[in-house]
């Protein structure tokens, strides 16, 4: 449903994204993570056909990017966008904003009325529907922007930082709604800084910093970075320096009596680690692998990726 092949986009010769490739199958939610300026918003704009790529191509909802003006219009009719700012007109009421955007997406009066009322009631905005948008709270504005993005029932949704700046309650409401969209079978590309949000919602995770540093399901990504946890009876701090000298030990940290080790090859290197600990007179209570959390995967990818 969303397929990017070696997408690149530069501004004045400075690359914003370089060779970005990924595939999000129909009905899946992909969280695109990355620090500020990583190219997440640029990726969305290129995929929506708002910015032509300087290299590479994509296919979104069956339409090529870059494509003809007609393809671009059809692609945008089948996609919905939630920008970081709500992007509605302050002087118009919530209902009028929905009517304007719904019409621009080609919706008829009856559809607009029915779906507008459904979503406004569902998101508890019905009472405020005729008040100027500018007078609404930030959470209400973000919910209306979400309604605007899904009102025309798009197959693909692009959500750019949907919970940024919301209070915890508002953020949870928006997350619940995104989960509902996914359950309805929509394909979603979610740009976020919130790793917990990505962990809770995403089928696929992409870590972007100009290039796609890592991409896959959370299980795949975390299994590629399994750590070894070795619990000792005592003296973990004393043994750690010797382990750090081993060439296949990429990272070694100590928490209480437990050694946390990142190894080059978990299966082959584990016996060597155990041997080294025993050689240091360490008394091992347990040895077991532990999957890396998304935060760890993210920080590692960003740290090791291109500057």
């Amino acid at each position: 449903m969303i397929e990017a092949r070696a997408l690149s986009r530069s501004f004045d010769g400075r690359p914003a994204i370089e060779g970005v490739s990924f595939h999000v199958p129909e009905g899946k939610l992909c969280a695109l993570l990355g620090p500020n300026g990583a190219g997440k918003t640029t990726t969305i704009r290129v995929l929506l056909g708002l910015l032509p790529p300087t290299a590479g191509e994509a296919n979104v909802a069956g339409y090529p990017v870059p494509g003809s003006e007609e393809d671009g219009a059809r692609l945008r009719a089948r996609t919905g966008l939630l920008t970081e700012a709500p992007g509605c007109y302050d002087r118009m009421s919530g209902r009028e904003n929905l009517e304007l955007f719904g019409r621009l997406y080609g919706m008829g009066s009856a559809d607009l009325r029915t779906r507008g009322e459904y979503w406004l009631r569902k998101l508890e905005l019905w009472e405020a529907r005729d008040k100027p948008f500018g007078t609404w709270s930030k959470g209400m504005k973000q919910r209306l922007a979400l309604i605007r993005a899904v009102l025309h029932e798009p197959q693909v949704l692009f959500l750019d930082e949907p919970t940024a700046g919301l209070d915890p309650g508002g953020a949870r409401d928006v997350r619940d709604l995104i989960a509902e969209f996914r359950a309805e079978g929509r394909t979603i590309l979610l740009c976020t800084h919130n790793l917990a949000e990505a962990e809770a919602l995403a089928d696929l995770v992409g870590i972007l910093r100009r290039r796609m540093l890592a991409f896959g399901s959370l299980a795949d990504l975390s299994s590629s970075q399994v750590r070894l946890e070795v619990e000792l009876a005592a003296g973990a701090e004393g043994i750690a320096p010797a382990l750090r000298m081993l060439p296949f030990v990429l990272e070694c940290s100590v928490v209480g009596r437990t050694l946390h080790l990142l190894l080059a090859d978990l299966r082959n290197d584990t016996p060597e680690v155990v041997r080294a600990i025993v050689a240091q007179d360490g008394l091992i209570l347990s040895v077991h692998p532990a999957r890396a959390a998304l935060e760890e995967i993210y920080l590692r990818a960003v740290r090791e990726g291109p500057a």
Partner: protein
């Protein structure tokens, strides 16, 4: 072309004007000046065109000489001829109302969307560049022309009444006036709005677009009004030709605006 989109943007712009008190002065003051100026000059007619002052005041001499040489001016007295000349030529002011309001409104059309951060959601809809620009153009020119035509009717009525008071004759708009107001007026307003739209697409902030419009677009449009407007008031044929020429110029400008409308530039240069 989906005309419904035009009406959508038109309704939005009208709502914006209604709820934005900062733009009210332009919509009230300009028409008021355009109506009052000819009325005031007509009221002062005995001072302006007093044949007894001929030979003493060079301005009065020039005015009397001008009306004597203009064979298109009817009237049995010099005063009546001067009144007809004033009402005919000051009809240019009604053209200015449309030009200034349309260019001002168009100058804000895109830059204000960017400032409100509504442009990206608009660009993310299936709307094509041509449709967006046409809708914005219609939303700028439509209300401006309604105000301009309302001003024209009010001004013509007031002019006729004051003219009757001062000359004893009903002095009504000429055929040239009507052609200029109904055909040349919209063409000039469209031309000015397209210049304003061009500025709006290039600028990054509302003050910048407003200043550019005030300092460059409006004066440029005024030059065109001065060149075409006054001769058009005197002759319907000149008005018709002028309307066609300015209309062609506007078509050329519009296609240029569409060609130069760069979504990427608007999305990336404007922060």
């Amino acid at each position: 072309m989906n005309r419904e989109i035009w009406w959508l943007f038109l309704r939005k712009e009208v709502r914006d004007v209604r709820s934005n008190r900062q733009v009210w002065p332009a919509y009230l003051l300009l028409p008021a000046i355009a109506v009052l100026l000819p009325v005031l000059l007509l009221a002062l007619l005995p001072l302006l065109a007093d044949p007894s002052r001929a030979g003493g005041d060079p301005a009065v001499d020039l005015l009397i000489e001008t009306v004597s040489r203009d064979s298109t001016l009817r009237g049995s007295t010099v005063t009546e001829k001067v009144a007809r000349l004033l009402l005919r030529d000051l009809g240019v002011f009604y053209l200015l109302v449309g030009v200034i309001l349309a260019s001002g409104s168009a100058a804000l059309a895109l830059v204000r969307e960017k400032e409100q951060r509504t442009l990206e959601p608009i660009l993310a809809t299936p709307l094509r560049d041509r449709e967006l620009l046409l809708a914005k153009l219609f939303a700028a020119v439509g209300p401006a022309m309604l105000v301009a035509w309302g001003t024209t009717l009010a001004g013509s009525l007031a002019g006729a009444i004051v003219g009757r008071w001062r000359t004893g004759q009903w002095i009504l708009p000429t055929a040239g006036n009507w052609v200029a107001w109904l055909l040349l007026g919209p063409a000039l307003a469209t031309f000015a709005a397209l210049l304003g739209l061009r500025a709006s697409a290039r600028f990054t902030d509302v003050p910048g677009a407003t200043q550019f419009t005030g300092l460059v677009v409006v004066p440029l449009a005024l030059v065109v009004v001065a060149v075409v407007g006054r001769p058009a008031m005197a002759s319907p044929l000149v008005g018709l030709a002028g309307a066609m020429a300015v209309g062609l110029l506007a078509c050329w400008l519009f296609s240029g605006n569409v060609r130069r409308f760069r979504r990427e530039e608007i999305l990336t240069r404007w922060r």
